[in-house]
């Protein structure tokens, strides 16, 4: 692996430098500990550290209740991804198309859904459409906005991937007599899809985060299930902390996979 700037910002320290680093280390550990103790003290003095309020999350019925929410989260995320990713690819191809109309339409779709918050789209389904007599079940009021917004962001990812494939590949495909369409389908796209894989995993993380808007449409995903649990048990901080930790762990793992894939691809590109 090549060295990067972050690794040469300071010399290997001498005896004096080592002493200073040790001193600063101890000092910063103390500050961090003080912050943690302060937070715990704040919890304690408000009676939130009572073990009775925490161990309940190890009870089977609590776990089953939260799992129900997590299952809902995974379901909407998976469904939204399965529809939005291919739709994003189609939008990217449309935007790169030679037909002006098609390209302009795709561009408007993409820029619109990339520029506005998903919450606004959710409200359109929750508040606006019912006024015109169009109603959806809660599940679709969450999934359809997720698909619309994600299709726009993944379209940009696919477009970047297609543009990142070397121009020579287009030329080589043309030289062996492939039509523009055949070249795109059997030469460029397979390479582009590999290039965008890490970004697609991150798009999955974004979808997972967006699924928390089930809280607004009252669909039983993890965040809303947490709200329901709070209204039953009144353990507010505890429940929302547990819920947040579940999200953080899942997203952390997915982000790690994306970064590892990206690093491997960059290393490979550098080697060849």
């Amino acid at each position: 692996m090549s060295t990067t700037a972050t690794q040469v910002l300071f010399d290997a320290p001498g005896p004096k430098g080592r002493r200073r680093i040790l001193l600063l280390s101890i000092l910063s550990v103390l500050v961090i500990l003080a912050l943690l103790v302060g937070a715990l003290w704040q919890f304690q003095s408000n009676g939130q550290l009572d073990p009775g309020k925490w161990v309940v999350y190890l009870r089977a019925d609590y776990i089953a209740f939260l799992w129900q929410g997590l299952w809902g989260t995974l379901k909407v995320t998976a469904l939204a991804a399965v529809v939005a990713f291919p739709l994003g690819l189609l939008l990217a191809l449309a935007r790169l198309s030679r037909f002006r109309m098609l390209s302009a339409l795709a561009a408007v779709w993409i820029e619109f859904y990339r520029g506005i918050p998903m919450l606004l789209v959710v409200y359109a389904f929750l508040l606006a459409l019912p006024a015109f007599g169009v109603t959806f079940p809660q599940f679709w009021m969450l999934v359809i906005p997720m698909i619309l917004v994600s299709s726009a962001t993944t379209a940009e990812v696919f477009r970047a991937g297609i543009n990142a494939v070397d121009r020579g590949q287009h030329e080589a495909a043309a030289a062996i007599g492939l039509s523009r369409r055949d070249a795109m389908v059997s030469v460029v796209l397979p390479q582009a899809v590999r290039l965008v894989l890490p970004s697609l995993i991150l798009a999955l993380v974004t979808l997972l985060k967006d699924s928390t808007l089930g809280y607004v449409v009252s669909y039983n995903e993890l965040q809303f299930q947490g709200k329901t649990l709070v209204s039953i048990t009144r353990y507010l901080v505890q429940t929302y902390l547990v819920v947040s930790v579940i999200y953080i762990v899942i997203n952390f793992l997915l982000t790690r996979v994306a970064l590892a894939l990206d690093a491997r691809m960059k290393a490979r590109a550098a080697a060849s």
């Binding site: 972050t6 408000n46 993380v205 985060k209 901080v237 990206d262």
Partner: protein, 233 residues
């Protein structure tokens, strides 16, 4: 149209609140994020670990979960903040994690030789960062930081879920009262599009000013494949 005429002050207030949330959250995020990035590349191990833990927590937590935790959870542990400042705090904590990762990868784009040269003329850790590495890193960071800004604009909408009366909250409240759905969506949508496009345009101006001629290959399209900072919702 009456819905607009009668409520111009309310709408303007909503737009103003959105702008305030975004700008405050983003500026604080720039400061905190840069400090975190410096901590992450510093020679002090505990600071490096703390900053890493910070980034992993706040770039992976959904913004809505964070806002709910701050707005409804903090009063339970005896800390009361107005909802507006809960929103600013949530946006700052979340965006700072992305700023940190972008600054760090910006630092990595500076050629190793520059840092070595800076050290060999006697500059220490802060001197090297402050006078040699960060000014150059900033050029490649403009575009990613614009994306963080757009993420902050879009994220500010979630503050309406914790009862901050910003433009989404105002338009949806009016929507329920007047049933003028299309109009209200146009207003809110326009406010967000103008804010993010305005931010992007300003970023473009800054980028052209700091890196004449060389910055154009890293346009918005190329940034879509950059995964170093993680996924901002």
């Amino acid at each position: 149209m009456d819905a607009i005429r009668e409520n111009i002050p309310l709408l303007l207030q909503g737009i103003g609140t959105t702008v305030a949330l975004t700008v405050l959250g983003y500026v604080f995020a720039l400061v905190v994020g840069t400090a975190m990035a410096v901590a992450r590349v510093s020679p002090i191990p505990p600071l490096r670990w703390a900053a890493t833990v910070y980034v992993e927590i706040f770039r992976n937590i959904p913004l809505l979960s964070l806002l709910i935790l701050i707005a409804f959870g903090l009063p339970d542990v005896g800390l009361r903040l107005p909802y507006f400042w809960c929103g600013v705090l949530g946006l700052t904590l979340s965006s700072a994690a992305f700023v940190c990762e972008n600054v760090r990868s910006g630092i990595n784009t500076v050629p190793v030789g520059h840092a070595e040269a800076a050290r060999s003329i006697g500059l220490g850790f802060f001197g090297t960062l402050r006078h040699v590495v960060l000014p150059q890193a900033f050029r490649s960071m403009v575009q990613p930081l614009v994306n963080v800004f757009i993420g902050t604009v879009i994220g500010s909408a979630l503050c309406s879920a914790i009862a901050v009366q910003e433009v989404t909250w105002v338009t949806q409240t009016l929507n329920i009262r007047y049933a003028q759905a299309v109009l209200m969506f146009l207003i809110a949508g326009a406010a967000y599009l103008i804010l993010s496009l305005g931010g992007a345009a300003l970023g473009g101006v800054i980028e052209r000013a700091v890196s004449p001629g060389s910055g154009r290959d890293r346009s918005r399209a190329g940034a879509a494949l950059d995964v170093t900072a993680g996924a901002q919702a």
